[in-house]
Amino acid sequence: MRYVLRLVLPRVLLAIITLVVVSATIFWAVELLPGDAATRLLGQGATAERVTAMREVLKLDQPPLQRYVGWLSGFVRGDWGESLVSALPSSIASAGGRQSRPVADLVLPRLSNTMILAAAALILYVPLSLILGLVTAIYRDRKLVSWLSALVLVGTAIPEFVIGIVLLLVFSVTLQWFPPLSLIDDAQSFTQLLSMLVLPAVTLTLAMTAYAVRMMQTSVMAVMESDYVRLATLKGLSRRRVIWRHVLPNAIGPALRVTVLNLAWLIGGVVLVEVIFSFPGLGRQLIDSIKLLDTPVIEAIAMILAAVYIIANLGADLIAGFLNPRLRTG
């Protein structure tokens, strides 16, 4: 138990500190965006008084530190503020107040779309990387497998937006199997939703799998050269039994860690893939909001993505810690 505490506590603490540092950086970067929210909201033609009044409503007259603390505590409590873009200038003019849309209403549907995409990618990824990793490690002397390994190596290097574009060209433009735009909010039926999910999910899977196969392969090969596997083979156990009972359980730990690391890496990939396929998820919303300077939405999405990234890294770190017996003693 003390070991667990010593393993978990400092890492969780570091993750929390990182989150605070990242949140401050995000807030600071968003502050630096050109123009301020009040003028952006009211448009260029607004009078000085209107801008001053709006600055008060948006609390822009407060010092930055106070606003940062206010924003962060609001974010933690689930109050993410209101989007600047969805407010219509005409309604502000007529009612004097703001016709606004809470950030959460805008972001949460996008978050669930991205989670659907990530889940679809993981469903393909886990069996594919496990099987390919095992097969390429066990049969590495065969010619076909060495070609497969070379292909995997090439796969790790190709950027996901190139994979995405090529898949789009082949399966959507040429063969017309899948729609070129994955506007899943407009999907009429479940089959239509699935056909829209296939290309983005496969793109993400290919980009992740190549790397995971590589890691799985290395870790299986290391285990197969270990003394206990050699002993098990010399004891006369069947090859199948050696692989299932001795190799697989010992090789799966590092593979698990890579999977969690891949989740963190997925954050970047998801932004690119969503843009390629016009997928209405968090990543594309982030890019759109940055271009529209919709600061509350940018802050909320950047925080969500950063939190997922940091928590995934923490998870990978903890898995590595629990799997390393040398850390457990002493």
């Binding site: 570091l14 993750a15 500190i17 990182t18 540092v21 990242v22 950086t25 995000i26 970067a29 968003v30 502050e31 630096l32 965006l33 070379a150 190596l153 090439v154 790790t156 290097a157 190709i158 950027p159 937006f161 190139v162 574009i165 090529v166 789009l168 060209l169 433009v173 070129p180 790397y211 590589r214 890691m215 290395t218 050269e225 890579v258 690391l261 963190a264 890496w265 954050i267 970047g268 932004v271 690119l272 843009v275 390629i276 982030l286 890019i287 940055i290 271009k291 940018i298 950047a302 993505l305 950063a306 990234y309 940091i310 890294n313 923490l314």
Partner: protein, 302 residues
């Protein structure tokens, strides 16, 4: 396992030399399997195009109406023309220099800063090293792409800012790798001997430590250049990198995306150029890493 064996024979056959020194590696590169040699050849072609491309590219890369818009590939326009009638082949050829220059600058800066700090910290091994590594650990868990997007849109997307941002995130990773390699060296007897001889810290770091981590530095440079091509390409693809009408490949791919249905060559040409560059760089890194006896499996971290 095999790497260790190779290392020990190296040590035996060349007494007094640390394993993985640079000079012996050319012979090893020569004996590598065909895919690596092919990759090295492809990489050489890319470098040649970057150096000489603008001299022989048939058209000005930003000249509008070099031909009718959306001309499919033909002898006049090898990769066709784009929506503005610009020659896609000339744009890809000119883009090579932009892509490589940006990537080399970012990875060069990252390796310079990261390797120097890594060697210094490993040499110090005191509270400065300890606390610096805490900070590095913290910075390493910041998501690079998300923060780069925010910083670039806030600070403006000039090349200097982009290169510094990318170099910052890469330098952190280089630092940890080089520091780990240098830690193995500073405990060696010849470093202790140099210290006892009364050599200055600077001289020990430069003459004893640095030459022995040089192979790791080289591999890091090659590896990070590949990552930088990917990362900067991604930034440009999302509209946060090079500005139009620069013939940067990531930007070209994103600009050509709307025409993928009727003019696929506009998007295909820069995509294939980018893919072949990154793949050849990655295989080349693998090759030199193998040749320098450093092994190959490493964790992707960007």
């Amino acid at each position: 396992m095999t790497h260790q064996a190779a290392d020990s024979t190296t040590v035996l056959s060349v007494p007094g030399r640390a394993p993985g020194s640079v000079r012996r590696s050319w012979e090893t590169i020569r004996d590598l399997p065909a895919p690596y040699l092919l990759a090295t050849a492809v990489l050489a072609i890319h470098l040649l195009v970057a150096l000489t491309g603008p001299l022989w590219a048939p058209f000005d890369p930003v000249k509008l109406s070099a031909g009718p818009p959306f001309t499919s590939p033909s002898p006049d326009h090898l990769f066709g023309t784009d929506n503005f009638g610009r020659d896609v082949f000339s744009r890809v050829v000119h883009g090579e220099r932009v892509v490589l220059l940006l990537a080399f600058s970012a990875s060069g800066l990252a390796v310079l800063v990261g390797a120097s700090l890594g060697v210094i910290l490993a040499y110090l091994r005191n509270w400065v090293d300890e606390s610096a590594m805490r900070v590095v650990d913290l910075l390493l868990t910041i998501p690079p792409l998300i923060l780069s997007l925010l910083l670039l849109s806030a600070l403006g997307s000039g090349y200097v800012i982009m290169i510094s941002t990318v170099a910052f995130f890469f330098a952190l990773r280089v630092l940890t790798v080089i520091r780990a390699a240098a830690l193995n060296v500073v405990t060696e007897d010849f470093v202790t001997a140099a210290r006892l001889r009364g050599e200055s810290a600077w001289s020990v770091a430069r003459r004893e430590v640095l030459p022995n981590v040089m192979s790791t530095v080289l591999v890091e440079f090659s590896l990070r250049t590949g990552y930088a091509v990917l990362f900067i390409g991604g930034l440009s693809f999302l509209g946060f990198g090079a500005a139009p009408p620069t013939p940067e490949w990531g930007l070209m791919i994103s600009e050509a995306r709307p025409y993928v249905t009727n003019a696929p060559w506009i998007v295909l040409a820069p995509s294939l150029a980018l893919a072949s560059l990154v793949v050849s760089l990655s295989l080349f890194t693998e090759a030199i890493s193998e040749a320098l006896g450093l092994g190959s499996s490493r964790v992707r971290d960007v």
